[in-house]
């Protein structure tokens, strides 16, 4: 009886091990194709600036990233690229209250979000006579107290990009006036 149970358990374990294998490479459908939101997202994440001086826009972008506390990872002048990331606290009140309530009422410990890494890349490309296009993309990864990833997401909140481009315009002004 015990042997039977053990046998089933081991077989099940083996089946799961074979099923999960060493990682599967079947991408989610449409992972590399454009969709209905592509144009909308592009508009949200892009702004045109009335200057062809990509170097100045790059410097203003790098300065802005430092203003926002990002560590610069990579900068490529000829392709107009600057990337960076920052590690920040990801705890929030709602989850903490939920955690204490679960512990008090149910006696279970629910791990809550602990850290997040926010990544940003800015690409500046020429866009016709006397203009350039700046496109910024943000994403973040959140870990819980056990170091497990709980969320990986692409940030496409309209307010975030509006504020970002407002700050970039300001940074360009400061750069132009050498402040």
């Amino acid at each position: 009886m015990l042997n039977n149970y053990l046998l089933y358990l081991i077989s099940l374990g083996l089946a799961v091990a074979i099923w999960t294998g060493c990682g599967s490479a079947t991408l989610p459908k449409d992972a590399l194709s454009t969709g209905a939101r592509t144009v909308q997202d592009r508009q949200l994440q892009s702004r045109y600036f009335e200057t062809a001086d990509i170097e100045t826009v790059l410097i203003a972008s790098a300065q802005l990233m430092q203003d926002m506390g990002f560590n610069l990872e990579e900068a490529e002048e000829d392709l107009g690229l600057v990337t960076g990331d920052k590690l920040r606290d990801a705890t929030h009140a709602g989850q903490q209250i939920g955690k204490f309530a679960a512990a008090a009422l149910l006696g279970v410990y629910v791990p809550t979000d602990s850290d997040q890494r926010i990544r940003l890349s800015i690409v500046i490309a020429p866009a016709g006579e006397g203009r350039c296009k700046v496109r910024a993309t943000f994403q973040r990864v959140i870990w819980n107290e056990y170091g497990q990833i709980t969320k990986m997401e692409w940030l496409n909140n309209a307010e975030l990009y509006q504020n970002f481009f407002f700050a970039l315009s300001k940074s360009l002004f400061l750069e132009a006036h050498e402040i």
Binding site: N3, N4, A17, L27, A31, S33, S121, M152, W154
Partner: protein
């Protein structure tokens, strides 16, 4: 053979199989480093397209714009070597590197390789999707690698 003996045999067999699976792991280190389960020629053909342009910077800009359209954050780019790398996070994570190399005087070969869930993506369809998006961005038709 009694039922108990049969169970014992099956138990040993399955345990042996697990031990073997653990021992072999996910393949030896050299097999993982040099993984060539797909033929090199077949893989290159799936992952590459030829574009009629001699403008490398234009091509690299289009690749970055396409990757951003697809939700990638660009991690790294180099115009001398002709590479762009990025990561997409959308509940899952995909990493992709795209390289360009000149072929003849007026063509570039664009090659993409993606990684998902700790394995190389070797299906043809995702690459086809990527090159369709890139072609739209470039207003150019992609040719299969010959």
């Amino acid at each position: 053979m009694s039922l108990t003996r049969l169970n014992h045999f099956a138990l040993w067999f399955v345990s042996g199989l697990i031990a073997f699976a653990i021992w072999t792991g996910c393949g030896s280190a050299s097999a993982k480093v040099l993984e060539t389960e797909h033929g090199q020629v077949e893989l290159r053909s799936i992952q590459s397209r030829v574009y009629d342009t001699s403008d490398k910077i234009f091509l690299l800009h289009a690749i970055m714009a396409t990757m951003q359209d697809l939700g990638f954050v660009i991690d790294d780019a180099n115009d001398v070597i002709g590479t762009v790398s990025g990561t997409k996070m959308d509940r899952y994570a995909v990493e992709m590197t795209v390289s360009v190399r000149m072929r003849g005087e007026s063509q570039y070969v664009v090659r993409a390789n993606a990684e998902y869930n700790r394995a190389a993506v070797t299906d043809a369809q995702p690459y086809q999707d990527f090159f369709n998006a890139l072609s739209k961005s470039l207003f150019l038709t992609a040719h299969e690698l010959e």
